[in-house]
Structure formats: C-alpha cells, structure tokens
Symmetry: C2
Subunit: 152 residues, 2 copies
C-alpha cells in the first residue's frame, strides 16, 4: 500500500470498483446469452402444446424462423440438458424442469411486454423489443417493471 489519503475512499478505488462492476456485467451478459435460445425454445414449446396439443419440430421451425435441422440440433441440446423429452419422429414434451423454465419465461415475457406497452410503445415494436430484453432483466428490474405497468 504505497498510498496516502486512506481516511476517505480514494477516487481511483471508486473507479476501480466501477470497472469491476462493469466486468461482472459483461460476464453476466455472456452467461445470459448462453441460455437465451433454450429459453425461447422452451417457451415456444409450451405455447404450442397449449395451443395445438403438441409441439412438432416443423411448427417450432416456422415460429422461430429457422430450418428444421437447426431445430433438431437444438432439441438435442435441450434433451441433453433435461428440459425436454422426445422420441424419434415424434413430438416434443417438456420435462418438469422444462415446464418450470417455460412458466418463468412466460412470466418475464409478459411483464416486459406489459411494461413496454404501458410506456406507450406500439404492439409490434413492444413484442420485438420484449423478445430481446426479457433475457436480460434481473429480478429487481422485473419487479420495477411490473410495478410500473400496474400503476399505469
């Protein structure tokens, strides 16, 4: 410690802490990114099961805007990670864990969407932004969003 004024927090320490927070933020965002696709799939699968009684890969592909092989590969990952079960050439089902995740995602999506709409955004833009934002809101922010939407 080759330092003087230690009675008050030195400016460079404040700065250092800010930088550290930023680094944490970057790392956190990278982590969030890794589960984004899984969350989108699980949420969509739940929706398809609810609406159509089943979630077929072809419908997932259409709704996600990707090709069938991409869906197949992603479903393989979801199955490996214990979020879905499936049999060859058959529809997809959510595991207990998958259902829980889907529910949580839907909840977040709805709050974010409701919040954006209550801010005065048009529905199309709100939908689009919500889709991107929902994976990056902390519990704390979500609570504030819900609160705000309720008050409006």
């Amino acid at each position: 410690m080759t330092n003087d004024q230690n009675l008050e927090t030195a400016p460079q320490e404040v700065e250092a802490r800010a930088v550290e927070a930023r680094v944490e933020a970057f790392i956190g965002v990278r982590e969030a990114r890794r589960s984004e696709v899984a969350e989108d799939y699980v949420e969509l699968i739940a929706e398809l099961i609810h609406d159509n009684g089943e979630a077929r890969p072809v419908d997932i592909a259409t709704r996600m805007g990707v090709t069938a092989p991409t869906v197949a590969k992603t479903l393989g990952r979801l199955a490996r990670d214990g979020l879905i079960t499936r049999a060859k050439y058959r529809s997809v089902f959510l595991t207990e864990e998958g259902r829980a995740l889907a529910k949580e995602c839907r909840h977040r999506h709805e709050i974010v969407l409701r919040f954006l709409l209550s801010l005065g955004l048009d529905p199309e833009t709100a939908e689009r932004d919500a889709e991107g934002i929902e994976h990056h809101v902390s519990e704390r922010t979500l609570a504030l969003f819900a609160d705000f939407a309720d008050r409006s």
Copy 2:
C-alpha cells in the same frame, strides 16, 4: 378461400399476424445478437482511448473478462469489418465507422442506464441490466426511455 365472414377481420387472421410478428421478433433478436460483441468491444475501445490515451488488448481482455487470445481473434473480426485498425504488437484504433458506432452505443447505453436508475434501480444492477438490454432496444423504445428519465 373457403371462408365466411370477410366483412370483419377473422380471428385466425389476427392470430396469424401476431405469430408473424413473433417470428420477425425472433429473427430480429438473432440479428441483434450477431453485433452485440462487436458493439461491446468498440464501445470499450473508445472508452479506453478516452481514459488512457490508447486501447491495449490486455486492458480490453481485463475489462471484458476474457482471455487475450479471445480478444485477438475478436479484434481480427473487427478489423475485417472495418471498425478498427491495428498494427502487430501495437494498440488498437477506431476507424471513422468504429467511432460512429461507439458513439451510438455509448448514447444508447447512457439512456438505458439513466432510465433504469430513474426507475429506482440500484447502480450495480442497473449497470448489469443496461449492458444486456442496450443491444435490444429499438429507436422508438429508446426515445421513450429518454423521455421518461428526463421527466423524473
């Protein structure tokens, strides 16, 4: 068209349009994801140049929370995409295009951060969420955020 009531918009058409909007949202989010890393780097490089007079790969690595080889590879892509220039074993510089992007990102980041703070969020969480959210807010939403923060 084996359909009846065409005087009003049929419910399944409304539904179809909603689904289409959702698909567009997914595609849009995927596009946004592709430029997220580049935006983060460019923004950070601008910051380092401003604060330290130069942007060294080692500092980028530390601040991004990744290793030096990862930075090297990413810088290669940024150079290829015309956002930065660099010479071997030397610091990194932004091109005109890179500077413009950095400025835009910083602007977005600041608005989102200011907005979250004005909602009542603590600074650490705000920083973290802003980092994730900033890449997914449309111009329209950004305007509403700025407006809200100003009014607070």
